[in-house]
Point group: C2
Chain length 458, copies 2
């Protein structure tokens, strides 16, 4: 019997044949995620477990037979986290898609890991509750995938990242052990914090099957405004001063000069194409305070040198302001046939240096660069735009960008993770800590079956 | 040469004799922490490293010679975390006590681990910045100790625990490797989150030498009130409803009937001694909102059945309200010669059940129990008061309490950690996850030199 058939047959006997697919169409469909380099490897089988016990059986078998297992949420990752590089088993959580309990008394929700983030947000929203993390994939990515990647989003500047909302996890380790990690209480110091170790470990340590998430009351109201600056320094000054003025915005999105030009040419919003930086500022909270906060924020922008200021007076105007950000992705793909988007992150005060550095790198390689992103937390999406024949130059430019980011004390990934895409740069950033990460991996996954080849090679 | 002398001599040659003390007075002074059971074991030497390199040399030596090392902040822990049970080396961080940089642009502070939490709060406060975690030991405990125990405090209900403020750590592993874990940015997903694994690991995985902490702007204003209820159910209902009314209080302290009686008899505050529950409510934030919030909170209390409501109209009245909580510790020690304080935590909705459970347990063993604590996050300090000859009964009562807390889905420790005091109960709470915790310990401290015998035995 072929290995593929053996695996499929054995798994079918363990969890039921309806949960095991090995036909070419399934295997090809699950061979890639949203990473721009495309697919890498085709799995032997795709499994659709419905319970932690199913997951436990799959992992125990794979662990004994040394078969790689690639956990997968919605496959929306951008660094290859779900790519089955060495064949084996793709384990998709899509059938574990029930919201188990919304706990209004304790502001929490117990959910299976395959639930789509947007679905969960809608359901808890009906009870006046709010799950803040908002990666741009939130309409299709899953809670489990968000947890495995510790997903961020624009709102993180005020509300924090996925990790800040996960109180408890059900996770299955490679030897099949089903565990509950963390507690449903805000405080708990009982033993090692394995929960936060699993969060962001990109499916390399355990498979997440359930999560108990912290919720907060839905903010009562929101205000949105735009401020346009002559140069990036002024915009960055406004960002820093806003926090000093005690305004923690819900979103603080930045567009650099190339972004402004691109979106204006594409969407004709009436933006000044000679501007050097644009901020979209959103504040939320109690209805009695939002006007006060947005005015404070705009006062800061004026003092920092903003030439144009626009405050949304209606939901229509609010949407209009957000168009500058929303139309950006379709706008920039008009510029060149290909793009690569790197989500580096630096401290807020280093944003001007980072932006200027990207211009220098782009000049060096004669490339176009477009920068935008979450200025409030220093997380800038650097987009190199290029023709297909320029791919090598872009690779060098990205390498320069990562080195420069690390020099600035920043991180090569604020949101997207390492996957296989950024493995080369992880040691540069974390130094000797990588030895300790590898030691942890070997302790929890001694046979290296879970998502092998991701984050680092061992 | 005696082992003690050999260790002292060798360490002196490595880091300088002024940083190594082995005289009996030093060794006895560092033989215990604040744990009520008193001292356990006397170290051979006490070392006072001043740099991460000193720490690295101490650990490398201890690791080769298999000498236990007990890291120590201020020794204010309550579960024996700093107790040198097997002799060896006590490593105190008290000489690493410099605040290195307050970063106003990025709202952060880089500090050595031996800095006292209160000192740090005062220093950043001068710049209008705020470090919220406030364990009751904050006036003498250290940042490093707070991180090692993931310390909490009353303000955590709104602001989160120590972990939520640590962005980056410098930590030295048992083999002497000096690492930087985490990033100075709010977002970072570069490799495993070892930072949050080290936080709360009670000095068993690495020695923390520096931390980069997140700060927030100091809240502009604060309002304080008190609400008194006939019974614990009403008080608990008010707690739950407050969050639904979108009021996240800065502090929400609860006193049960025995607490009210004890503090009234001691401090004569005019509290009704037939009340079943008392809440102290504090809100903070923008000056335009604090009055609105405290009124909302009190409206909730009234609806839940509060008989008496008192709103502080001045700083003097505010202090008066807080006396009910502050005088509680001196008040209850009047009741009986001995007490044991357990910091169990349950979900908010389970508070009435927990409190009633403690009364049942107290009845069973004919003991006095006094409950108070941080109702907002379900963290209740259960105090059994007893005569010296009742120690055995208390031990049984505590055992019942832990079992009952776990039955309620809670945690045996919200703030104090496991140390050697709660080792017996950790497996009850975390189940099979303990095997994975032990695997991580063995991977990062293969010779079991760092704080051996704490959290679990291996």
């Amino acid at each position: 019997m072929k290995r593929k058939d053996y695996i499929a047959k054995h798994l079918s006997s363990l969890i039921g044949s309806d949960k095991v697919k090995s036909s070419p169409d399934f295997c090809i469909s699950y061979s890639y995620d949203a990473t721009p380099t495309g697919g890498r490897g085709i799995p032997d089988v795709v499994v659709f477990p419905e319970t932690p016990e199913d997951v436990s059986k799959i992992l125990s078998f794979a662990n004994e037979e040394l078969i790689p297992v690639y956990p997968r949420g919605a496959g929306s990752g951008l660094t290859g986290g779900a790519a089955p590089e060495n064949g084996g088993i793709v384990l998709t959580t899509e059938k574990m898609n029930k919201i188990i309990e919304i706990d209004e008394d304790n502001l929490g929700v117990l959910t299976e890991s395959g639930v789509v983030t947007y679905t969960l947000q809608q359901e808890v929203g009906k009870r006046g509750l709010f799950y803040p993390p908002d990666p741009s994939s939130y309409k299709y990515s899953t809670i489990g995938g968000n947890i495995a990647e510790n997903a961020g989003g624009p709102r993180c500047v005020k509300y924090g990242v996925t990790k800040d909302y996960v109180l408890q996890l059900e996770a299955v380790f490679p030897d099949g052990t089903i565990t509950t990690l963390g507690a449903r209480t805000v405080k708990s110091v009982a033993g090692y914090n394995l929960k936060d170790l699993i969060i962001g470990s990109e499916g390399t340590l355990a498979v997440i099957t359930k999560a108990y998430l912290k919720l907060i009351p839905t903010p009562e109201d929101v205000r949105t405004a735009m401020a346009i600056f002559d140069n990036v320094e002024e915009a960055a000054q406004a960002v820093a001063d806003m926090f000093k003025a005690k305004v923690i915005p819900t979103a603080l999105e930045f567009l650099d000069r190339n972004s402004i030009v691109a979106v204006e040419n594409y969407a004709k919003l009436g933006l000044p194409t000679d501007a050097g930086g644009l901020l979209i500022i959103e504040v939320d909270g109690y209805r009695e305070i939002v006007d006060i906060l947005i005015d404070r924020a705009l006062e800061v922008c004026k003092k920092a040198g903003a030439k144009t200021i626009k405050k949304a007076k209606s939901e229509k105007e609010r949407k209009e302001i957000w168009r500058a950000r929303r139309e950006l992705s379709p706008a920039i793909v008009q510029l060149k046939p290909k793009k690569i988007n790197e989500d580096v992150v630096v401290q807020r005060s280093k944003i001007p240096e980072l932006i200027k550095g990207t211009y220098k790198i782009a000049d060096k390689y004669d490339l176009m660069v477009v920068n935008f992103g979450h200025a409030g937390d220093g997380n800038i999406h650097v987009n190199f735009m290029f023709e297909p024949h320029e791919a090598d130059k872009v690779e060098s430019a990205v390498r320069d960008l990562f080195r420069f980011t690390i020099e600035l004390g920043g991180s090569v990934s604020g949101e997207h993770g390492i996957g296989f895409m950024k493995k080369e740069f992880l040691p540069l950033e974390v130094g000797k800590a990588i030895e300790k990460m590898v030691a942890v991996k070997k302790a929890l996954d001694p046979n290296n079956i879970l998502n092998p080849g991701k984050i680092f090679d061992i």
